[in-house]
């Protein structure tokens, strides 16, 4: 989280880089073909779903196997609202709030039980969800599902549908990523992290593990709802199959592969979710699942921290290969000698001469 002071820590440099990045991202839909745009939009949809899962599982350490359920509920609410002519703003809000309320109710019960209870209860969600979606056919269209082309590009925009949909994903998904990034830093990020690593310590810091688990789970459900809305905007069709348990497990694998407790990792997880089956299919259509499994094992074996840790791992490898760098590393990683050295360096502080610490 802390960079050494330099060019990139200056406010205006970072602001300029952000501005350039935003413009570049907004130009993307115009520059690619339809197939690529659709793929990118789907990556965005599942990156948001993985992001939600990361809040509850990556950051807060509560195993959730039900994330796809909230994505599915969000998609169904969107489809229902869109086919019944609701205002698009109302559709968006409902597709977020309804999964959020369900998530809150589930969490109020599950977090009280603690331990594996959350995993078990969330496991039940997709298992119950699929037959429920089939049964409630008045609202869900039963096994046939619901389709709605509410996200076609409006006339005034002059865009193709795929471009318009990708813009929807970029704007809505981008906002969710930004809000979530803000939340998992600072006060709430620290609170989630200590609930994950030690609940007794969390409690003695004034952080009720129960309340923060419920909070994390509710936020994950809200984000799942957003993902469902975007899913409907991009795929324009949802059926009971959307919220099946298999997808939930794949979401979990995508989170781990992208990088647990990482914003960028969520994005990479979304990319894995969409691209891994395509890649495997491209190599050999008969062994898609096997190849995906092999890919999963390969990533976990080589990069236990997920794809997001790749730059760090490479940097460490490079440092180890340099003899001088290696010696330096050894010294700083063993506590005692490093401390002795520091104590000498810090001697002036103790004698009362202030150090040049920035205020």
């Amino acid at each position: 989280m802390f960079r050494s002071p330099g060019l990139f820590s200056r406010a205006w440099v970072r602001r300029a880089i952000t501005a350039i990045a935003v413009i570049a991202v907004l130009a993307v839909p115009l520059g690619f073909d339809e197939y690529t745009n659709q793929n990118l939009a789907r990556i965005g949809v599942f990156a948001v779903a993985v992001l939600g899962l990361n809040v509850v599982m990556g950051y807060t350490g509560q195993v959730s196997l039900g994330q796809i359920f909230f994505v599915g509920v969000g998609a169904y609410v969107t489809a229902y609202g869109a086919t019944h002519g609701w205002n698009i703003g109302v559709v968006l809000v409902a597709s977020i709030l309804i999964p959020g309320v369900i998530g809150l109710l589930v969490a109020l019960a599950a977090a009280r039980l603690g331990g594996l209870a959350i995993a078990m209860l969330t496991l039940a969600l997709p298992i119950v969800g699929v037959p429920l979606a089939k049964r409630l056919s008045d609202y869900t269209g039963g096994s046939q599902g619901l389709s709605s082309a509410f996200s076609s590009a409006p006339e005034w925009s002059g865009l193709y549908n795929d471009q318009w949909q990708l813009y929807v994903v970029l704007v809505v998904g981008g906002a969710v990523f930004l809000l979530t990034r803000n939340l998992v830093r600072g006060k709430y990020g620290r609170a989630f992290a200590i609930v994950k690593s030690n609940e007794a310590v969390a409690a003695s810091m004034g952080i009720s593990p129960y309340r923060y688990k419920v909070l994390a789970f509710t936020v994950a459900s809200l984000i799942g709802g957003v993902s469902g809305f975007l899913y409907m905007a991009v795929v324009q069709f949802t059926s009971p199959e959307t919220l099946s348990l298999g997808h939930s497990v794949t979401l979990l694998a995508s989170m781990v592969i992208g990088g647990s407790a990482s914003i960028v990792g969520s994005l990479l997880g979304g990319a894995y979710y969409v691209l891994a089956p395509q890649l495997a299919n491209h190599v050999d259509p008969n062994t898609t699942e096997l190849l995906q499994g092999a890919l999963l094992l390969l990533v976990l074996f080589l990069l236990p921290g997920g794809l997001v840790s790749l730059p760090r791992v490479i940097a460490r490898k490079l440092r180890r290969n340099r003899p001088t760098g290696g010696a330096d590393r050894q010294q700083s990683s063993s506590g005692a000698p490093a401390r002795g050295r520091k104590a000498v360096e810090e001697a002036p502080t103790m004698s009362g001469i202030p150090t040049g610490r920035p205020e």
Binding site: M1, K187, R190, A200, A203, M205, I207, E359
Partner: protein, 260 residues
């Protein structure tokens, strides 16, 4: 305002095992109070009762006259109680500063929606607390380590980091669970100096569980000696050290008989 702590007839049972029996004592505001006794005497259990992690089966615990028995630890922390743990419980992969900042949780305003929007007054209070945390680390000779990962540092430093984390919450009652355990002699000296300085600078009551009699003698105003979950005596550290019941509890009956 330093807190006043009173325990009356506290009993704690785990199933059929009596861990604490009728323990009672009073700690005056601003005191440094020692809780001593041989291994298994129930010191840490008593600590966990005060901090709300255990719920005594009967008795009364009041802080500033308010009954806190059965109050959740998170609630107690919000009302000015802070503690350290016998085995430092830090996030090893995070930096020292991030660990210390956790102590300021209850001092930071704002709910999850406000933090998601990164409102300006929140980022300002976060920045101010960062500065305060760095100053606190500096005063405890840990300023140099602020941006180090905790797992790169020694056990003794972990104890110091945990103390800083507890202090950043600006507690009125601070519980230290074996702060000197596993520290070399030189660091114990520094710890004594630190606790003294904390008491002088902050308006705070300190309760210490400790085996290290040197530290207890050097620091505490009063002590309570526990043995087998019962209060053996209370008084000053010097009185405790010369009390035959205490010597018996620590060394055993035979030793006393032999000496006699």
């Amino acid at each position: 305002m330093a807190a006043e702590l009173t325990l009356t007839d506290v009993n704690l049972r785990f199933g059929g095992i009596r861990v604490l029996t009728e323990v009672g004592f009073a700690v005056a505001p601003g005191q440094i109070f020692g809780l001593v006794g041989p291994n298994g005497a129930g010191k840490t259990s008593l600590f966990n009762c005060i901090s709300g992690h255990y719920r005594p089966s009967s008795g009364s615990i009041t802080i500033d006259g308010v009954e806190v028995l059965g109050t959740a630890p998170a609630t107690l922390a919000r009302h000015g109680l802070a503690r350290t743990f016998q085995h430092p419980a830090l996030r090893l992969g995070a930096t020292v500063l991030e660990n210390v900042l956790l102590g300021a949780h209850t001092r930071l305003p704002g709910g999850p929606i406000e933090w998601s929007l990164r409102l300006r007054h929140l980022t300002r209070s976060e920045r101010e607390l960062r500065t305060e945390a760095l100053e606190l680390l500096d005063r405890n000779h840990l300023g140099w380590a602020a941006n180090r990962r905790v797992d790169e540092l020694s056990h003794g430093l972990h104890k110091g980091i945990e103390l800083c984390r507890a202090l950043l919450s600006r507690p009125k009652l601070l519980l230290l669970d074996e702060p000197a355990a596993g520290l070399p002699h030189s660091e114990v000296e520094q710890l004594i100096e630190t606790v003294r300085r904390v008491r002088a600078e902050e308006d705070i009551t300190v309760v210490i569980v400790e085996h290290h009699m040197g530290l207890i003698a050097a620091l505490t105003d009063r002590v309570v000696v526990l043995d087998h979950g019962r209060k053996l005596m209370d008084g000053t550290a010097a009185e405790a050290q010369s009390d035959p019941r205490v010597i018996e509890a620590y060394i055993g009956n035979d030793a006393v008989d032999d000496a006699a």
